[in-house]
């Protein structure tokens, strides 16, 4: 595993982290509960800015695949050879998210060599997007110190994702940050819907997929709030259709679960429609 990290570090592009003194924290640990704060509401007005945080590739992979066990199929991943097809920054950002999810999926499945190939491919795309400019020796040293002792490829991709997201925003390209997030999430859904068949549509994986309706709602909000951004808004119709299908599927599944039944035929039928819509979107992104 150490060799894997050394190779990753050589390939890696960076996170410039600074460690040192930090402010003391008041740590409040409580369960979520409704509290009466009506008197505080008048202090809050319309937001100046809204950040939308979709689950990142490691987060979505963990939720969807950590319990799928040995089920892994390399054929489902976007082929690394496709990387040279992506010439526009839009396609590059979308597929940076897609390859990051493929990397995360392979890592969770313990497919280290495949994960490295996907990491290298992500790196290639990142370099084309200008992210190599943030590479520094400090970063490489930091990774060497921190990852040799941590058996977690997921940490690496989280750092990559964070630096990419921050870089796009720093450089006045928030649309690319959003596209990377959307691409990564869509790939997660594509892989999960494909794996569901191998898992015989068990309620666990179906429920995990259904939970992602929340992310779906956020994507629709992102697209609607970027009406003037054609690279994002062009996906409005497809994601709106997908959102509608998500609701139909999720509501039916919720009923099945409430009655403690296995996935019903009508739920499965709606799931297969969902799978098809996700595949159409994903194929649009990768081709």
């Amino acid at each position: 595993m150490k060799d894997v990290y050394q190779l990753l570090i050589l390939l890696f592009f960076p996170a410039i982290l600074f460690f040192g003194a930090c402010e003391p924290a008041n740590n409040a640990s409580k369960d979520a509960k409704n509290i009466d704060v009506a008197d505080a509401d008048s202090d809050f007005h319309e937001a100046k800015k809204i950040f939308y945080n979709l689950p990142s590739p490691p987060e979505v992979s963990d939720m969807l695949f950590s319990e799928s066990g040995p089920v892994f199929n390399e054929a489902f991943l976007n082929r690394v050879e496709n990387v040279d097809l992506y010439e526009s920054s839009v396609k590059q950002a979308l597929n940076l998210g897609i390859y990051s999810t493929d990397f995360s999926f392979a890592s969770i499945a313990g497919q280290d060599q495949i994960a490295i190939n996907y990491f290298a491919t992500s790196q290639k795309l990142a370099t084309r997007l200008g992210l190599s400019n943030v590479l520094s020796q400090d970063t490489i040293n930091w990774l060497a110190r921190n990852f040799e002792n941590k058996d977690s490829l997921m940490d690496i991709i989280t750092v990559v994702y964070r630096r990419s997201e921050a870089y796009f925003n720093e450089n006045g390209e928030p649309d690319l940050a959003l596209l990377m997030a959307i691409g990564g999430w869509t790939e997660g859904m594509y892989l999960a819907t494909k794996l569901a068949k191998d898992l015989k549509y068990n309620t666990k994986i179906m429920d995990q997929i259904s939970e992602q309706r929340l992310s779906m709602e956020i994507i629709v909000q992102i697209i609607e709030s970027n009406k003037n951004e054609p690279n994002i808004h062009k996906y409005h119709e497809k994601f709106t259709t997908l959102n509608g299908q998500y609701k139909t599927f999720s509501n039916l599944l919720k009923e099945d679960l409430k009655q403690n039944k296995p996935v019903s035929q009508s739920t499965l039928k709606e799931f297969l429609k969902l799978e098809e819509l996700v595949a159409i979107l994903r194929n649009d992104f990768i081709n």
Binding site: I16, F19, A28, K30, K33, K49, M154, E211
Partner: protein, 134 residues
Amino acid sequence: MGFAIFNRSVAQCVEFAEKIGLTLLNTEEFQHDGYLNSIALTSGEQIDVVKPFFKGRKYRIVVVADTKAFEYLNFRVINANQIVIYNNKVDDYTSIWEFMPQESENLIISVKVPDAKSGYTRGCVAIITGVDNY
């Protein structure tokens, strides 16, 4: 930590979020979700972060500013029905909150920068979230 520093750049805020925000998150215990949500704000301004939270996981939210003038940074966590499920006023404006959602839902972390007692104050604010380590 400075006082009333003007003209914060995006890069400065990112640096602040990585240095202070991630330390407060404690990445040994909580896996960062990949977003720094760092921005330069002026007294009286507000920022929202919209994010899905999933049942069965433990989350830590860190809201922090780089200036003492924003010491009493107020944040609230609001659900889709506009119900405030947490307000850090009740915990003396703590910068950290941990919780386990009872249900999966999209929540808004809404942050209000306090009004300046005197003059114009500007500083970096970061809103960082992590989930119990995978």
